[in-house]
């Protein structure tokens, strides 16, 4: 059986597979979706060209994403006898120059990002190791451990790093009930957003009688700005499969579905391949590793509806019905897919499972806080220096994530807030930056863990505008089934739109509606929260409630002064020429695309507000900084 070789290799062979030492040069290119977006395909082509031109016998490996999206495309080089070294922003043009120098044994520390543990090899001077690099230093990389490091298509590499040991040992040593209890003991909670204890969920499904049970992996990942699940699948697909197989053993499922959005073609390709290989290696299919466990894995592509992340809607979608939630109870663990007991967990939850079963529930539970154990992956984005994927131990403060790992705010601007938990989440202002990553702590400050979206906002971000963005998203993604969510979110959006609309652009009736609307905003929010059918609707008002809670003064400025303090709501900005500073050079008038600037040459100009479209061309054109906005 092929599987034997996966587990019976000698230490030397494993070292080779892990590339602790290499016989010939290896060039790695981070070719996840994010890397490809930054130009990794050109980098890859340039690397191939360079290797061919220099007649070097080298391996080229496409890896997933290591997490530092801000510096992509990333290219690693490992020369025989030398530590693996990572270079940042390696675009197609730069690749050959970097390769030229590194193959000569020299690196420009400006382009080098980080170097791997040297081990028996010689390290590189002046290049930080993972333990030293500020972005990686504070992370606890369990789920992302292999991402960007290994070849995601190689089951050998996964196994050489301890992969499938957890499954092998679970099948040999634990009964399904013991497996459930291990999950319970670990304290693992749903990483998709709800935070329901995973072990408890498994226990419910385990307790259900019946031959047929289903296991479903939710890889729908619909939050704007979230890409944790995609990175895990692209960078380390076998980890997900192993986690799911252990879960299936625990609850007694023989059929499993991965519900993944069709917008993730690379992830789907990796999964398809991984499933085929795992079946070949007897890690999926009938009698897995010679045990009584049989598991058949199916991929179901979703059409990318946010609501299909809700478990009952997801079930409907897999069943071929319209993705609309249904009332719970009955909960899926009792009556789920095709009416059978079903456990639904998200990708990150399953990806934690091998970790728990390999090193024990105790070690997992030891990391984190009392009620939130293990780690959490966040997609860090927005106005932060180091955007990308970070994995931190529970209990890490938001300040650490934003300022230490994230490197602080871009362009030295002042921090304003982070939005955590996507459209259903909330924002955390300056005053609460020391809040710890913990399901309960976050709830206390009016936010939620969510699936891992973390958007950093600075002083130039308008919080009313942020609320408007999320409200727009939610009202478009509402399934339309229940009235409060379908009709209410739309009206809330309209109210926000009216607040950010200039008086010039509204009719008398609209102005009246604006006043009515402001008075209704919180009332509407309360009805939507308390009466909506599913989680999407119940949390839909959160962006408004949370920004209103912490940034009421910004709302007030919009409503009463009709001004946007952050200068983001274009409609509320007024452009003005400061008479004393204007020399009458006419440059601004010439640049104005709508002819809104008038004035005789050599005398101060003025702007006709009704005509001005607030494009900012005049500010750029003015050599005397005579144009102001307010």
């Amino acid at each position: 059986m092929a599987t034997d070789t996966l587990f019976t290799r000698g230490a030397e062979a494993l070292k080779k597979i892990r590339r602790e030492t290499v016989d010939r040069p290896v060039v790695f290119v981070g070719a996840g979706t994010c890397g490809l977006g930054a130009g990794a395909a050109q980098t890859l082509a340039a690397v191939r060209e360079w290797i061919a031109a220099h007649h070097i016998d080298a391996d080229i490996v496409e890896t997933g994403c290591i997490g530092l999206c801000a510096e992509e495309p990333l290219m690693d080089v490992q020369l025989p006898g030398r530590a693996r070294i990572s270079f940042k922003k390696v675009t197609g043009e730069k690749a050959s120059k970097i390769l030229d120098s590194v193959f000569k044994g020299a690196v420009d520390t400006k382009t080098a990002l980080v170097q791997f543990d040297a081990g028996d090899n010689k390290g590189w001077d002046g290049v930080p190791t993972f333990a030293e690099h500020p972005f990686f230093r504070r992370q606890t990389r369990w789920v992302l451990g292999n991402c960007g490091v290994i070849d995601p298509e190689s089951i050998d590499e996964y196994c050489a790093r301890g992969g499938y040991e957890a499954l092998r040992d679970t099948l040999s040593w634990l009964t399904p009930d013991e497996a459930v209890e291990t999950a319970v003991k670990s304290g693992l909670r749903g990483r998709g957003g709800g935070g329901f204890p995973t072990g408890k969920k498994w226990r419910f499904a385990r307790a259900e009688k019946g031959e047929l049970k289903y296991l479903v992996c939710n890889a729908d990942e619909g939050d704007p700005g979230a890409f944790m699940d995609r990175a895990v699948i692209e960078g380390d697909p076998y980890r997900l499969l192993e986690g799911m197989t252990i879960a299936a053993y625990a609850i007694g499922a023989r059929e499993a579905y991965i519900y993944i959005r069709a917008e993730y073609p690379l992830a789907i390709k990796r999964l398809e391949r991984a499933i085929a290989v795992a079946e070949r290696e007897n890690l999926l299919g009938d009698k897995i590793l010679g045990s009584e466990l049989s598991l058949h894995m199916h991929i179901k592509m979703g059409a990318g509806a946010f609501v299909c992340g809700e478990e009952t809607a997801l079930i409907h979608s897999i069943e071929g019905k319209r993705g609309m939630p249904r009332p719970r109870p009955p909960f899926p663990a009792v009556k789920g897919l095709f009416g059978k007991p079903t456990v639904i967990n998200n990708v990150e939850t399953f990806a934690n499972v091998p970790e728990i079963f390999r090193h024990g529930a105790e070690r997992f539970a030891a990391v984190g806080t009392g009620t939130s154990t293990g780690t959490k992956v966040f997609a860090l984005s927005g106005k932060v220096v180091n955007t990308g994927l970070v994995e931190v131990a529970m209990g890490t403060s938001i300040r650490e994530i934003v300022f230490d790992i994230g490197g602080g705010i871009e362009h030295g601007a002042a921090f304003k807030a982070v939005q955590i938990g996507g459209p259903s989440g909330g924002c955390i202002p300056d005053a609460n930056l020391d809040t710890k990553i913990d399901y309960e702590e976050l709830k206390k400050v009016g936010a939620m863990m969510g699936s891992g979206g973390l958007v950093v906002m600075d002083e130039h971000t308008c919080m009313v505008d942020v609320a408007k963005f999320f409200m727009d998203f939610i009202q478009r993604e509402s399934c339309g089934k229940c009235i409060p969510c379908r009709e209410g979110t739309r009206r809330m959006l309209e109210i926000l739109q009216s607040i950010t609309r200039s008086r010039r652009n509204e009719t008398g009736e609209q102005a009246l509606q604006r006043f009515q609307g402001i008075m209704q905003l919180t009332e509407l929010a309360e009805v939507i929260r308390s009466t909506s059918l599913c989680g999407l609707g119940q949390t839909a008002p959160n962006p408004v409630l949370s920004t209103l809670k912490w940034f009421r003064h910004e709302y007030d400025a919009h409503v009463y002064d009709r001004k946007c303090p952050a200068g983001a709501c274009k409609d509320l900005i007024t452009y003005r020429i400061v008479e004393e500073q204007c020399k009458g050079c006419t440059l601004c008038a010439k640049k104005c695309p709508v002819g809104a600037i008038k004035g005789a040459p050599k005398s101060p100009h003025y702007i006709i507000d009704e005509k001005c479209i607030r494009c900012g061309a005049c500010i750029v054109a003015c050599p005397f900084k005579a144009i102001e906005t307010e």
Binding site: I483, P484, E487, R491, S530, T531
Partner: protein, 573 residues
Amino acid sequence: MEQMIANGNMIPFEKGETVLTALKRAGIRVPTLCHIDCLPPVGACRICVVEDTATGQLIPSCSFPAAPGLSVATHSVKALKARKTIVELLLANHPDDCLYCDRNLNCDLQKLAEELGVRQRRISGERIAQFVDNSSPAIMRDPEKCILCGKCVRTCEEIQGVSALDFSGRGSKCKISTAFDQSLNLSTCVSCGQCVMACPTGALTERSSLREVMNALQDPKKTVVIQHAPAISVSLAEEFGLPAGSDIMGLMTAALKKIGFKAVFDTSFSADLTIMEEATELVERVTKKGVLPMITSCSPAWIKFAETFYPTVLPHLSTCKSPQQMLGAVIRHYWAGTQGIDKKAVYSVSAMPCTAKKFEAEREEMLVKGAPDIDAVLTTRELAKLIRMYSIELDKLEPAACDLPFGERSSAGKLFGASGGVMEAAIRTAHYLITGRELGNLVVAAVRSGVGLRETALTLNGLTLKAAVVSGLGNARKVLDEVAAGTSPYHFIEIMSCPGGCINGGGQPRGIDRENVKRRLAALYAIDAAATLRVSHKNRAVAELYEKFLGKPGGHTSHELLHTTYQARTDLL
């Protein structure tokens, strides 16, 4: 029974019941918009929320399981405020045209707004403009009035098994749509009108023929006659505030005469005629090894259902026209001559409990030289409107009798209004035709009681006839699958499109209250029990019609006028 608390009092519930069911039993009303009693709850409208007094949370009573220890307040300020806001949200996207709406004074949304004290347009915003779909000959759809409760979708799919409608689009673009957003006439809609019955607003209505009828009544060159279906006399009363199941046959006839119809005929007469033709056809098929089982053809939505979903079953359908079309044919091609009127001058109206009859009257198979036998079909609801429009006060009328010769009927013909009625009438006559004796007390109990599929067997002169009765197209599917597979054990099957038959037809007074349907049913059986003429073959007017005009059942003239053909419509799938 276990107990829970509602408004401070203990109320009983059975295990597995929802809070709403328990409340209903205890006589506590909680309004709903999307709930359908006989189907699993969907929890879409959220109008039924009640407050859980322990947590202060609002829970949807329609889907929340009742549990011991649960305590709810059905009309707490919080619950009432939530309900009111939800209604206001609906109204914000609803056309302000109650006065011009078909459902004015009879609309669930309007009633709810009134009950909850909506007196001001607090919430306003953009309204979504949509087009009216008037493509179907039977049903009009005005999506702007739709509140997306989904009752029509569930009725169409889960009760009727047609699935012509479903949700499409997301968020505020969400709407009820046919496949590929085609107009209704190009969809698989069978025009049964059950969606119209379920609709809480004016989004679904019949396509009205009132104006045509009124114009004809005014036209001196036209002789306007009307026939009314067996189920109408026991349901029309509800439109005038009388209890369900009141039989107002005489008053209705009087009202129609007062409106100006030259003759008022009873479709029950042609039901008797149908029995003569259909019984003859059945005997022919049984004795001459024709296609069996034979299936009834009175219900036009069922015909379209078969044409669309079961085209291979079409040879099993009786070739008999429906009673409406039979009477339409003899009125125009026989009665007009007896009255010395040009048959083209007859304007033939029918009052039916059905929306699909509008579609049937326009079928190309029903046209004679391009002209229809039935010029206009009115539903029970339209008939009530007509009576109101002519300012007729029913209570001030003297009951009148239908006009002869098509006013005489047996109570067997009257039973056509209920599911099982055609079968019962056919069995009574078949018994007589084959044995020469009347059937015992004439009641065929096996086809009367129960829901879904009912079956009976009848041994006559050593010949055992097996028969089945089914109503509701969803229920019919199982029987039809057997027929299509060639494994059906029956000789004769009665299929009615609407659950319970014509008394619950898509043209009846609005609502899906099963109690009303039961009362209408009881009224029909009471009429039968009290009748002296209870079998179709003893209807002298029918016999006379054969004598003077048609010849014999199944004869040449009959075939010309009383039988029809069908067409497969698989292109709609």
